[in-house]
Point group: C2
Chain length 229, copies 2
């Protein structure tokens, strides 16, 4: 649960929506029911959410803005590192409000309209990442394709960790698994960023038969430092 003493009204509405969908069913719950449970009016509800399926995903706009701000403030050396750093905010948000996240997860699995809504929300992060990376890569070869692949992979890694955590009932700290998954993505794209770098190279060198192992090693090291462009 959030540590704040009085959660904002948008948050209370979201909690009320999740609770009612869970207890009475999604189809049976109206916007009026949700507003009443949160101690708010119908017009207050519509100031915060467009529809009842919106209400259980409370903070996507705020969170997206926070992710965007983190990207813009990043001092990372590469776009992929900046993005893998920023996506941590999203997981942290789910974990911070674990009880709502878990109830929502169970609901989303049962109600196709909510699942579609969630998938569409996730697509907004992916788009933000794609545009950020695309700007970073600018006119380099295949920039559009690489931006698309990196953004999709970061989101996929995040979702895989999040889904595992939700499926396990939120019983552990997922930050270790997230580090692992994002490290995997960074390693993958470090390679992709330098496609000419090393993979298929073979060193062929000649030495005097009497050369010492040390001399052989130094000659090979000198060779390997001449990296291709």
């Amino acid at each position: 649960m959030n540590a704040m003493a009085t959660p904002p009204i948008s948050h209370r509405l979201a909690e009320a929506a999740v609770a009612l969908f869970d207890e009475n069913g999604y189809d049976e719950t109206t916007v009026d029911d949700i507003a009443a449970r949160a101690g708010a009016s119908r017009s207050t509800f519509f100031r915060h959410y467009r529809s009842k399926e919106d209400a259980i995903f409370p903070d996507h706009d705020t969170l997206l803005a926070a992710v965007d701000a983190r990207l813009r403030a990043s001092t990372a050396d590469t776009a992929i590192v900046a993005v893998t750093d920023a996506v941590r905010l999203v997981l942290a948000h789910y974990v911070q409000d674990a009880e709502v996240s878990l109830r929502r997860y169970r609901l989303v699995g049962r109600v196709p309209a909510l699942r579609d809504r969630e998938i569409a929300s996730v697509a907004r992060y992916q788009r933000l990442f794609r545009e950020f990376i695309g700007t970073w890569l600018a006119d380099s070869p295949d920039a559009g394709l690489r931006a698309e692949l990196m953004a999709a992979s970061v989101v996929a890694a995040h979702n895989q960790v999040l889904r595992g955590w939700l499926r396990a009932g939120g019983t552990y700290d997922p930050s270790g698994p997230l580090d692992h998954a994002l490290g995997y993505v960074i390693a993958t794209f470090r390679h992709l960023e330098r496609p000419q770098d090393g993979e298929n190279q073979v060193v062929v060198a000649t030495f005097d038969r009497s050369a010492s192992p040390q001399a052989v090693m130094e000659a090979i090291q000198a060779h390997l430092q001449q990296r291709p462009v």
Copy 2:
């Protein structure tokens, strides 16, 4: 356009929906309008589609089944190659019905409800791919994560090519760009599949100073074929 003389009713309904959304606006068009334009009844409409936003995405169920069948029949050596092969069916479907695809693309950009619907459809392919790859990788390390990343990347590569083609008004054959993008994905994951394979290896071999270039080459080739596990 489809080469068939009489398109199936589901297809005629989809064409009618796209045309009416385009001409009169999405909000202004009713299911009755769509059915009337396609020369069908309201009940026929609801036998094929759940709602008016479903109607402009005609063949996702059929296409998903075709993609699934292609995966199951695949004789590819790796999961990623099987999946990159199967995803070609999806692009081919858009290209075959280019006129409807282009009108739909313009609509989807304007109507958020349709955009969400399209994003949710795409997620179904990604899920199918993820499950296929996950089964293939079975209990190998990080199988779940790798399946997620590969599935997301194949779908992302496909979408990047599709989006470029749609944005350009469908004025070229996108199969070349798709080959390029999928080749990129395969190369990326070939690396990921065998992270120990080659990148940081150096071949050190000794030869008789009198060895012919041919003998040196054969010895090196034999060495390189002893791939690490």
